[in-house]
């Protein structure tokens, strides 16, 4: 492997986090983060597709002609998205219902195409596998943080379990589309500051 696993891990989760630093895949981030269970489900579905498409595109990188590469990437990605869509419909119908349109829309999620173009089409299979895994987990981390914030503030619960006392009212605003934009803005500001501080300290021991 050309890259160290620890570098890829740090890159995907923090230094180059697809949501907080690269601001890719914002549509699905805003749409599915109304509850923690949705956030985790979407994050894991995305990670699975990202790993599969990165591995496959890396395997095919010597055969795909340069001019037609975007079309080829899209065919590979949409195949895996369809597989995951059908699997979710069959085995976790509740999750498939609440994520709705945003499962097929993973096809046009910029994170996957960006990793295919910038990483998998230029690197070996193992490197691409770990890159896909950690970028996917970085996306999942972002979804978990934002959906936890929105669920606690907007519904007073976490993972469906009420944690705020009954007499504390929830701010339903955070469950609305406007609240989604504002929660993402606040979380991005916070995480960017944290990531920059960690970078400045150059302390590679970060617990996730």
């Amino acid at each position: 492997m050309k890259h160290k696993i620890s570098t890829l891990c740090r890159d995907g989760l923090l230094d180059n986090n697809p949501v907080f630093i690269q601001l890719l895949g914002i549509c699905s981030t805003l749409a599915v983060t109304t509850s923690l269970s949705n956030g985790i489900g979407m994050g894991l579905a995305m990670t699975l597709i990202l790993v599969c498409s990165n591995v496959f595109i890396s395997l095919l990188r010597k055969f795909i002609p340069n001019e037609a590469r975007i079309a080829a990437f899209i065919v590979v990605i949409s195949t895996f998205v369809t597989v995951v869509d059908l699997l979710l419909k069959a085995y976790i119908p509740a999750l498939s219902e609440s994520l709705g349109l945003f499962i097929p829309l993973i096809v046009v999620n910029c994170i996957i195409l960006a990793r295919a173009e910038a990483f998998a089409s230029q690197n070996g299979v193992l490197d691409s596998l770990f890159d896909g895994l950690f970028m996917g987990l970085g996306y999942t981390l972002a979804l978990v943080l934002i959906s936890a914030l929105r669920e606690i503030l907007g519904n007073g619960s976490i993972y469906g379990i009420r944690i705020l006392p009954e007499n504390v009212p929830a701010v339903a605003f955070f469950q609305t589309p406007a609240g989604a934009f504002i929660a993402l803005g606040l979380m991005t500001a916070l995480m960017r500051t944290v990531i920059l501080k960690l970078k400045a300290r150059k302390a590679p021991k970060v617990k996730h």
Binding site: L23, L24, G25, I26, C27, S28, L30, A31, I70, A71, I74, V75, S78, T79, V81, T82, D85, L86, L101, P104, L105, V107, V108, N109, C110, L113, T176, P177, A178, G179, A180, F181, I182, L184, G185, L186, T188, A189, L190, R192, T193
Partner: protein, 194 residues
């Protein structure tokens, strides 16, 4: 298929269920190209054109090819291929025959393939409408909603240049929070059942 029905589709798609502020479709280009009203307008027009044509094509393909053979599970793959080919063809067509439009939209056209509003509009139309006219019109109206949101936000963003936010909020966080405030204005329309 009467006029009232089309007007209801238009009102609902443009303000009540605005693609950006209520359905979260096409937020990436919305944040990417809204720095100046002129570029926002170019991008909005290109998207309107592509969504209208792609909604017509994908609806017909679904009706004539996928449905009769029970291949609806291939919708995602078929639609994204149609959209990619359409965008490529449009780019070539404009370059050859309407160079003025090509130079105005040129740089935005290739980006449209990965705009989730296009695939989203196609999938939503197939799911909720039964006639090709309604589906095409839904695509057109939704993309007008996208254009309106883009123009409003580009105006807001021109003012943000002069703002002095805390360092952590510079750039994207500030843009996201401003978009949230615009979304609050649009949420005044939510709950209107037509």
């Amino acid at each position: 298929m009467d006029l009232v029905n089309l007007l209801l589709i238009a009102f609902s798609a443009i303000v009540v269920e605005n693609f950006i502020f209520s359905r979260f479709l096409g937020v990436c280009p919305f944040l990417g190209v809204s720095k100046q009203p002129a570029t926002a307008f170019g991008m909005g027009l290109a998207v309107t054109f592509v969504i209208t044509v792609s909604n017509f094509l994908t609806f017909e393909i679904n009706d004539l090819i996928l449905k009769p053979y029970g291949l609806e599970f291939l919708q995602t793959i078929a639609f994204i291929l149609v959209i990619a080919v359409l965008v490529q063809l449009l780019e070539m067509f404009f370059k050859r025959y309407i160079p003025v439009l090509y130079h105005a939209l040129g740089i935005y056209l290739p980006l449209i393939t990965t705009n989730c509003a296009v695939l989203g509009a196609a999938l939503l139309a197939v799911e909720s409408y039964t006639s090709v006219l309604e589906a095409t019109f839904f695509g057109f109206a939704s993309s007008i909603g996208f254009l309106v949101a883009l123009l409003i936000f580009a105006g807001v963003r021109e003012r943000l240049v002069f703002a002095h936010p805390p360092r952590a909020f510079e750039g994207m966080p500030l843009a996201l929070i401003s978009a949230g405030l615009c979304a609050m204005a649009f949420s005044g329309f939510s709950g209107i059942q037509l």
